[in-house]
Symmetry: C2
Subunit: 220 residues, 2 copies
Amino acid sequence: MRGRFELDLYVILDRTASHGRDLREILDGVIAGGGRLVQFREKEWPLRRCLPLLEDLRRRAKQAGIGLVVNDRLDLALAVEADGLHLGQDDLPASVARRLLPPPMFLGVSTHSLEQARQAEREGADYVAVGSIFPTATKPEFQLVGLDLLRTVRQTIAAPLVAIGGITADNAEEAIRAGADGVAVISAVCGAPDPAMATRLLLERIRAARIARTKTAPGK
Amino acid sequence: MRGRFELDLYVILDRTASHGRDLREILDGVIAGGGRLVQFREKEWPLRRCLPLLEDLRRRAKQAGIGLVVNDRLDLALAVEADGLHLGQDDLPASVARRLLPPPMFLGVSTHSLEQARQAEREGADYVAVGSIFPTATKPEFQLVGLDLLRTVRQTIAAPLVAIGGITADNAEEAIRAGADGVAVISAVCGAPDPAMATRLLLERIRAARIARTKTAPGK
């Protein structure tokens, strides 16, 4: 992965999952809780309305030394000089984005099948997201693929893997054990009463699971 | 204006205004009718769905030597190496787009007030669109500003002006007389039974109006 960002907990900042709280507040919680990578995701607002908010998030993330990824829109990612761009299967193809992104900006792709994951890696994704791993209300458009796909993808591609969809502090460990390098969450942090505490707990669980995995499967 | 495109008739290719006909067919008609500048405008489809169509339009336009502008999305404009990008007031600010666009790509901005037109020019727009000049069903979200705003903008800014909104072969002359360098149309070509003939007629009227304006107002 380009840049300096470690994949463990990846918090997606999504207004609709935040119960009316400002995303700046959620981000401050993530930073306070030790999070190191966030994504800005806004599917409804016109770009002009997103921009001032995203610029604020960019400043805060930079100041805290954590990574900021923009979902879906390469133009917005370029506009704020984000650290990365995340694309879904309806967005710009990874091959095109890779060509247009300045080299330090990393690229992630959401995938829902082995073939999509292989293609994302082939086209230059720096990490591949697989989901939905567990049932989720936040992304009902994502099909439920379960932990099995994660295991299959892990055995097939070399790119860092992010598990996404329905992940909480209670099941994050399962995703890591199935081969994910990190987990992406929306509601588990944006919807939490205390985003800083939720971040801290998730990070603890993820790190413990990674250590446990290393011990039980030394080849991994 | 950057690039080699003359502003006279500017045909916006819009699927929803095309009565189910393929935009490739409309573009072929525009080319046959002598049109030299088109814009791809798609407000509903996800980017991934737009891309193959836009790539086709790009090839056809290039082959015919006419200009192709992409509406709204800088990422899509970059992806197909469009000749220009057109932004509305909800899109990326012109100042940001100017910074991100490769130098030969020109930039247009839709404006609905004198202040917006001045700002667009100040921020680096290569042409400024003013509208809606006449009532229109295609862009009901645009307020009706009439010919008066066009005259005021013409007296205030130096950038090439495009009149937009409700323009037909019957009223194009009024827009040119009020100071527009060119007129943008959607329904008048996309919705016409014969887009080539509609293009030809509009071009005739626009050119005649420009000649008449030169004769009656030698200072213009």
